[in-house]
Amino acid sequence: MGPERVVYSALRDRPRLVWPNNARLALWIVPNIEFFEYLPGRPHTRDPWPRMPHPDIRGYSLRDYGPRVGFWRMIEAFDEYNIRATMSLNVASYAHFPALRDACEARGYDAMSHGIYNTEYISELSPAEERADIRRTQELFETHSGGRKLTGWYSAAGAPSLRTPDILAEAGIEYFVDWMYDDQPFPMNVKSRQLISMPYSMDPNDGRNFREPFIEAADFIASIKDQFDRLYRESEETGLVMTLALHPYVMGQPHRIGYLKKLFDYIFSHEGVWQATGVEITRWFVDTHLDKLNAHLAEVADRRGAA
């Protein structure tokens, strides 16, 4: 047995994390640019369209609203607020939708892989298949972006295997978000080295929240404001990360975009918010804080061993 994948660590025991310009809260904004297949082909343990025999055009066409319409309305709002976004990208979207690809590349959005299609789950693959699939994902993105690299990884549909972090570290991925257990970046132990686990959020997250009952945009934005207020207050003590996970087909809808803009107005009226990309936060953390944190974790482990 090697070391645990993730060492337990209470956030309040850790050394203070300081962001650039003494910002309190790092905010990354993550539009999930997804492609759900009309006829999912791979054998699957979960059915992406459980309502009826495939296709289910109700589910499909609502998601297809994203690349045709919702994405464009959302990035217009991003441009208005100079937002530097991090894509959670089903990389097949770049192949299918060149216009969307060009718009994202022109803005230099950070690229976090969200797998190839959101209806293909790597958790179902053998180790060799998973390695090949991750490589293929990287190559597909490099081909369609003109040679840019995927910096981060969020497994399609949030469905990784247990070995995914090892493969990602070998493949040169810098950060990984499937394990959503923290409000700060944290090193994950993998075979080759450490992989940085970035905070991410399925709660709140427009993709998930709007599938639940009783929720509309006003409720969703109210809960994000509550989240922001709390994290902003706590970040007086040590730097924290807030994730705003969005979907163009959800918050890019005409009756919802106004609420998103009101949220931006509110958040950006606060001092000390560092609106950064996933890779910027990760690299700052690695460059300025990781050694300190590892020393602290080693010290805690020694103390535990001595006791």
Binding site: Y38, S61, L62, P213, E216, A218
Partner: protein, 308 residues
């Protein structure tokens, strides 16, 4: 496995980013065309053993008296509340109609026809979705029979088709085109009509988030939000419609929005809607006809998808 290549992963329509399209102009300088889809449906108490229903209606009892009577409440009571609310603002009405519902409710057909409503073919009953386990012959027969029986019951040849509960097989758009329809109202993916790739068939969007079954009945969004959902959606679309015309559909069911505890919120929504400048209230057929008259049909043809 789907191949990551330019365009869609099926052949029914082409990919098109809304900002890249030629400007769409509505009649009289309108910025937003609005169609109200008021469904006239018949829910069978007993269904055949192979019928596949939208799983949201899967009641555990057979016969399904609950849903049958719920829908019938709509046709006896709720629809009149909705018609009063719509006519108060002179709104045009599009009626996706199960042929059996038209045959059983001549009184409603007459009232709707007197109001100038457009009937849209909508299958035989609310309990029979189209799906990929049907054979092509079965599905083609369902489409043809629904259209001819609806025509007999209403005296109007339907120009549009809406599949029950967004039920499609992989063949549906082609079969709709082959049956001679001008448009289908099945897809939730756009804010403008667009061409399907079969024989000049127009897709008039069916905006699922403005559909009462999806948002109110299935997702249980509290009714207090309803006027804002409709009005802020329409205001944003009218604003965006300055650049290029937009389309919005509002899906209503007599048994949902015609209920006594919900009708007030529909009335509020319609009052806000009626006050927004630049709206063109039209039937789906009027929207489709206008689109077809002013937009070039794409030369490119694509392939029909095959099952995995």
């Amino acid at each position: 496995m789907t191949v990551p290549a330019p365009g869609m992963d099926h052949g029914h329509y082409l990919y098109s980013a809304l900002p890249d399209r030629p400007r769409l102009l509505w009649p009289n300088g309108a910025r937003l065309a609005v169609s109200v889809y008021l469904h006239l449906e018949y829910y069978e108490m007993e269904q055949g053993p192979t019928t596949i229903r939208d799983s949201r209606y899967n009641s555990r009892s057979a016969p399904d008296v609950l849903h049958h009577s719920w829908f019938e409440y709509g046709n006896r009571i709720g629809i009149f509340r909705i018609l009063d609310a719509l006519t108060a603002h002179g709104m045009r009405i599009t009626v996706p109609t199960n042929a059996v519902a038209a045959e059983r409710n001549p009184r409603l057909v007459r009232d709707l026809a007197d109001l100038g409503a457009e009937f849209v073919a909508h299958g035989l009953t609310a309990t029979e979705m189209q799906h990929s386990h049907m054979s092509e012959a079965e599905e083609a027969r369902l489409i043809a029979t629904s259209a001819s029986r609806l025509e007999a019951a209403t005296g109007q040849r339907p120009r549009g088709w809406m599949s029950q509960d967004f039920g499609n097989s992989i063949r549906t758009p082609r079969l709709i085109a082959e049956a001679g329809f001008d448009y289908c109202a099945d897809w939730a993916n756009d804010e403008q009509p667009y061409w399907m790739t079969y024989d000049r068939l127009v897709s008039v969007p069916n905006h699922v988030l403005f559909d009462d079954v999806f948002t109110i009945w299935d997702r249980h969004v509290p009714m207090v939000h309803y006027p804002d959902i409709i009005a802020s959606g329409a205001r944003q679309l009218a604003e965006d419609g300055v650049t290029t015309g937009r389309f919005m559909s509002i899906g209503l069911r007599p048994w949902v929005m015609g209920a006594s505890h919900r009708i007030k919120y529909l009335e509020m929504a319609l009052a806000e809607l009626a006050a927004i400048p630049g709206l063109w209230f039209a039937t789906a057929g009027e929207v489709a006809a206008h689109y077809a008259a002013v937009t070039a049909y794409p030369a490119e043809r694509t392939r029909e998808p095959t099952p995995a």
